[in-house]
């Protein structure tokens, strides 16, 4: 039975991957390609975030910190050192995200629940403040423009496939993680943290591990985003970015591995459709968030699955 779901997963995987790979074939529009890239990158960010929240039960309101860290490593490297330093910037961002998340994580995993959320928010805002104020280094509110990936990556199409492959690889790695013993352990940490030590495992270290992993992939998404948008901005570090990635997860469903990815897709398409027409985007997403929390807490994917199970049992009982 377990092998069966393995196969299903693999097929689903290939279909989604193929669909994204075919986007450039289906449309010649640069705009649509960018939209697809955004879905991929926000999807990666959301899936990484959900490893923290949906899986381990740690609601971070500060993952924008690592998303922005990745982006700024690339952007500042290009700005201060030279346009050829895009990839080293990416690497630096990943290394920094591990170091920083270890340091911050050690400080904040000592508290749990709401306190954890508050502290993640505070650290996120601290990073935003510093970036915002340190004008001559970070460009402050102006951000950095003209971040062009080097060499052949400078071609939009090539860069899109570059993103696609890295995102697929990253999500696949996280999926393996979520199916592995450590993934189960993380779920156990969420469901009943006080039992975990009596199985010989440390709650704190489990939390620290996944905090670092999640932050690493958030930084990856951020640094690739810098190349996709050719620019970075302090908004990437702002707390609403953390809020948005949370909304994506709730929208898709935090109980499923792929839920947040779907949520990212839905929200970005929605933003594309509505964004142009309404200046009240925050109001929109506020209402969406409210509806999800009050009426559909399992998210679109979760509710859909629940519905399917109900229908199945209805048919079976006939």
């Amino acid at each position: 039975m377990e092998r069966d779901t393995d196969l299903k997963q693999a097929v689903l995987w290939l279909v989604v991957f193929a669909a994204f790979a075919l986007v450039p074939v289906a449309t010649a529009s640069k705009y649509h390609l960018l939209l697809a890239a955004h879905i991929l990158l926000w999807g990666l960010f959301a899936v990484a975030f959900n490893m923290l929240w949906g899986v381990t039960g740690m609601l971070s309101f500060g993952q924008a910190l690592y998303f922005g860290l990745g982006a700024y490593s690339v952007g500042l490297m290009v700005k201060h050192v030279g346009p050829g330093w895009f990839l080293p910037g990416l690497g630096l961002g990943l290394v920094c995200s591990v170091i920083l998340s270890l340091a911050v994580g050690l400080l904040i995993i000592r508290v749990s629940g709401v306190f954890f959320t508050v502290l993640t928010l505070a650290f996120g805002q601290l990073a935003w403040q510093i970036t915002f104020r340190w004008y001559h280094f970070t460009g402050g509110d102006d951000g950095v423009q003209g971040i062009i990936p080097p060499g052949i990556l400078g071609n939009g199409l090539v860069y899109y496939y570059f993103i696609l492959i890295l995102v697929a690889l990253a999500i696949w790695l996280m999926h393996r993680l979520s199916q592995s013993p450590m993934g189960v352990l993380l779920r156990c940490v969420r469901q009943n943290p006080s039992r975990v030590p009596f199985l010989g495992q440390s709650v704190r270290f489990s939390q620290l591990r996944i905090y670092v992993v999640s932050s690493f992939f958030a930084a990856l998404a951020g640094s690739l985003m810098a190349g996709a948008d050719n620019s970075i901005h302090t908004d990437m570090l702002y707390w609403t970015t953390s809020g948005e990635v949370i909304l994506m997860s709730v929208l898709g469903g935090i109980g499923q591995f792929f839920g947040p990815f779907i949520g990212a897709g839905v929200l970005i398409v929605l933003q594309d459709v509505m964004g142009a027409k309404t200046e009240y985007w925050p109001l929109m997403i506020g209402i969406v968030m409210m509806v999800m929390v009050l009426l559909l807490p399992r998210g679109l994917v979760g509710e859909f699955q629940a519905l399917r199970v109900r229908l199945k049992s209805l048919v079976a009982s006939r």
Binding site: W53, G57, R110, T117, L121, L126, S194, V293
Partner: protein
């Protein structure tokens, strides 16, 4: 640095501390009594500021009446938010996370509604009549309005202390803090109490917003700045500890006031540094009583 500089900064820090305390005490009250984390608390502060502005400028009301209108308006809206939305998720699995998300959605909705009604441009309010000047004592000049704020803050702190320590509802609230079931077992109408406590807390926030309006300009982004400051206060003071909120506000207010005078560019970063230092040395809050550590 001379003495009068220090005295002026101390007093202006005290003003800021008082406002922070008023906001943070509301936040900590709902958390302490109801175990609800109201992320949108700052938005009620902002609403208070706008309500006061509306009362004074459009309806030509007296400032103190306006402050009262702000408190009552924010209180009623707070009660509605609790009654219509928040109570639907009490007791749900992983309630804590969903509370944060739901109150986060309040922020987004309230902020945009405020923008729709009042626009995005800065609004400002004059100081109330009789408090527009300043007094000089021992070579230190201080706006009378700041002194009034400090006085009002002290009054409210004493009042709150009296309610918590000396009245039955106050003692019940303290004894059963964080435990809705226990409250119910004691014959308290829990849902009504929760709504009421939420109302009192948001009223405190709204009142603080009104008091602050003549000092800071009123903008739609005000709520977010304030919530983060009061979160820092609450982290420093220990969540749910009333006096912790007071001491935390004092510490942050003073540090900030001197930071603004000495390193104005980085003043807002200094608050975070204070918080990080506190966290390193005492993660459960600087002024929280020591608790039994969980495994």
């Amino acid at each position: 640095m001379d003495v009068s500089f220090i005295a002026v900064q101390l007093l202006s820090g005290l003003t800021m501390a008082t406002l922070l305390f008023l906001v943070a005490s509301g936040l900590t009250l709902i958390f302490g009594v109801g175990n609800v984390f109201n992320f949108a608390h700052g938005s009620f502060y902002m609403l208070g500021a706008y309500l006061a502005y509306q009362t004074v400028s459009a309806w030509h009301g007296n400032f103190w009446v306006a402050a009262l209108v702000a408190a009552i308006g924010a209180g009623i809206l707070g009660m509605m938010a609790e009654f219509l939305f928040l109570r639907r998720i009490y007791g749900r699995a992983e309630e804590g996370g969903f509370q944060i998300l739901l109150t986060y959605s309040f922020i987004l909705v309230i902020d945009d509604l405020v923008k729709m009604i009042w626009g995005t441009e800065y609004k400002s309010l004059l100081r109330p009549a009789g408090f527009q000047g300043s007094i000089t004592a021992a070579g230190v000049t201080m706006p009378t309005y700041n002194l009034a704020i400090i006085g009002i803050g002290l009054l409210i702190a004493v009042l709150a202390w009296w309610i918590l320590a000396r009245t039955r509802p106050g003692r019940v609230a303290r004894a059963t803090a964080l435990d809705r079931e226990m409250l119910g077992a004691m014959g308290v109408n829990v849902p009504r109490t929760m709504t009421l406590v939420f109302g009192i807390a948001t009223a405190l926030g709204g009142f603080a917003g009104a008091l602050a309006a003549p000092l800071r300009s009123v903008t739609p982004g005000a709520g977010i700045e304030v919530i983060i400051d009061s979160l820092i206060v609450v982290v420093i003071g220990g969540m749910g500890h009333f006096w912790g909120a007071w001491l935390g506000a004092l510490l942050l207010g003073e540090v900030n006031s001197f930071a603004v005078a000495i390193v104005p560019e980085w003043a807002s970063v200094v608050s975070y540094v204070v918080m990080v230092l506190c966290l390193i040395f005492k993660p459960e809050g600087l002024f929280a009583p020591r608790q039994v550590r969980k495994a």
